[in-house]
């Protein structure tokens, strides 16, 4: 047995080395697998159901992969299409694929795996005590679930296998776990589950498991009870260290990976350097869960936001920035209450001092006096109109507020015009839960197209 999975990059949209891809294609892979999403870029993408990456770069990178697929006549699989993997972004990705098929004059079969969840069903599962919280999950309620803008379930090997089984040329999956994309075909072909899942985690970010993460492309070759990771790019190597250290990457527990249908335990894994420069991996253990669970991700609208940015270069004000901003805040709050009739609990004003402690806030331990401070003022309220009004009330104070009663009014620097901006809806993540299902496909859908 020798099953080969080619991973061109850690994420479609961040570019990859085309020369390395060509070299990988010469190894005659059985499938090309690429990840298209993550929650790591924040809640706004799932919130809106939109992709983080530009349509043009997505299309150009996908085009190269579609050409490669046509040459080798092997399946091409993308997971978490359009960053958040909602039905809307899967449809967006389908549209790009259709355009390319026409431009490239390709006749192809496409299967979509749809992962968006109905709020009604998820709420029903919640009321039936069919949802359970994961580590550090926020509290949820029916109201929270119903107010979600989008909920997705993370597909695993079982759902992706169903999609691959349709014999499509291109498989576009909604939200899926990173590791399951790589693990599915090998498991279908009889590779040990633990080996396939382990390779899935190691290869999820492409060349991140090599000495040169920027090189992008990797090739994983499977035998029944082990897998080889091979460097594809000229300027990179794999070592037992680079391969095993990837278990640590963005994973809360370096020895365990929880996935749909079970968990992977790599405590006894063995990583061996081979003469041809590859690393051979064996020894992981897959522990099946008798209660099949799917992880859910959801977002809701926390409010609306507007921001203002003002630059303070005057030494006197730089050293007294906290006092100055507190005075501005107090003045604004009085005006907001009297002119906008808005109570304090219905909006928030945050002052973040760029150059001082904007990154770490109250956790900052360093105290160095900077030359200047950028004051980023973030207003959050229930309506955009309220944020805009508060920002406009703030403006003259940010421009001229004086710490001293008897001096001429100071003027501070606005780097942009207009000085304040409406951000729109402020989305936030609100689900870190799993749902129990009888059949893995219960909450997922397949759609088939021929072009």
């Amino acid at each position: 047995m020798n099953i080969k999975v080619l991973v061109p990059t850690g994420a479609l949209g961040i570019t990859y080395c085309k020369k390395a891809l060509d070299r990988g294609l010469k190894e005659k892979p059985d499938i090309i697998v690429v990840d298209g999403g993550s929650t790591d870029s924040g809640p706004a993408y799932l919130g809106k159901g939109k992709s983080k990456y530009s349509r043009s770069s997505t299309k150009s990178e996908w085009k190269t992969l579609m050409v490669a697929r046509e040459k080798l006549k092997i399946p091409l699989l993308i997971g978490s299409a359009g960053t958040c993997g909602t039905d809307k972004t899967v449809d967006w990705f389908l549209e790009i694929t259709k355009e390319l098929a026409k431009e490239l004059n390709q006749n192809i079969k496409i299967t979509l795996l749809k992962c968006s969840q109905s709020k009604k069903n998820i709420n029903k599962a919640f009321l039936n005590k069919n949802l359970s919280p994961l580590n550090n999950a926020p509290k949820i309620s029916s109201k929270k679930i119903i107010n979600c803008t989008n909920i997705v379930g993370l597909a695993g090997v079982e759902q992706i296998t169903e999609a691959i089984n349709t014999k499509a040329d291109i498989i576009i999956c909604g939200r899926s776990t990173d590791a399951s994309l790589i693990a599915s075909l090998p498991i279908m072909k009889g590779v040990d589950e633990a080996i396939a899942w382990h390779a899935g985690k190691i290869g999820e970010c492409g060349a991140f498991c090599t000495t040169n993460p920027r090189s992008g492309v990797i090739l994983i070759s499977f035998q029944k009870n082990g897998f080889f990771i091979k460097p594809v790019s000229n300027n990179t190597k794999v070592t037992p260290y680079t391969v095993s250290a990837h278990m640590v990457y963005e994973n809360s527990n370096p020895f365990t990976l929880i996935e749909p249908g079970g968990h992977l335990d790599v405590k006894n894994a063995i990583y061996e350097k081979q003469k041809d420069g590859s690393v051979y991996v064996t020894g992981a253990n897959w522990v099946k869960d008798n209660n099949y669970k799917i992880k859910l991700e959801g977002t809701y609208v926390e409010g609306y936001q507007s921001i203002s940015i003002v630059l303070i270069r005057d030494e006197t004000y730089v050293t007294s920035i906290k006092k100055w901003s507190k005075q501005v805040e107090n003045k604004v709050k009085k005006i907001v209450e009297s002119s906008l009739s808005l109570k304090k609990k219905n909006y928030k004003i945050q002052f973040r001092f760029v150059g001082k402690n904007a990154t770490l806030g109250s956790l900052e331990r360093k105290t160095v006096e900077p030359n200047e401070i950028g004051v980023l003022v973030v207003v959050t309220a229930k309506k955009q109109y309220e944020c805009e009004e508060i920002s406009k009330i703030l403006n003259p104070l940010l421009l001229h507020h004086s710490l001293f009663k008897k001096t001429e009014l100071p003027t501070f620097s606005f780097p942009l015009s207009p000085p304040s901006f409406n951000i729109g809806k402020k989305y936030a993540f609100c689900l870190n839960h799993v749902i129990s299902v009888k059949n893995p496909m219960d909450i997922f859908k397949l759609e088939k197209y021929s072009i």
Binding site: D40, V248, N251, S252, N253, E297, L360, T380, F429
Partner: protein, 99 residues
């Protein structure tokens, strides 16, 4: 000496929207053992203002890596969050003075 001068690298990342994971990469066993001894749950609790029982520390002896997983001080991308990718939380440890 500051911790960053002792170790190879400190990396801070989100582990999903609700957890933060900080990896301390050491060059050798001696440093690795020093880190295990100095970077205790008490120390992490003090630096990150998080209750001790919510902190997990994993020493990975084959790689000389110490992994620390904590709840995110604010949920990723929520209105209170300041660091979407959890990129800078490791700096608190990098700049920690150790004897």
């Amino acid at each position: 000496m500051r911790l960053k001068e002792l170790v190879k690298k400190i990396r801070s990342k989100n582990a999903g929207p609700f957890l933060l994971t900080i990896d301390i990469f050491c060059s050798n066993r001696k440093t690795f053992e020093t880190i295990i001894q100095k970077i205790t749950k008490i120390e992490i609790s003090r630096l990150y203002k998080i209750p001790k029982k919510q902190i997990e520390i994993f020493p990975i002896k084959d790689l000389f890596i110490v992994k620390i997983t904590i709840p995110r001080p604010n949920i990723q991308g929520s209105s209170k969050d300041r660091d979407l990718h959890g990129a800078s939380f490791g700096i608190i440890l990098e700049e920690l003075k150790i004897k």
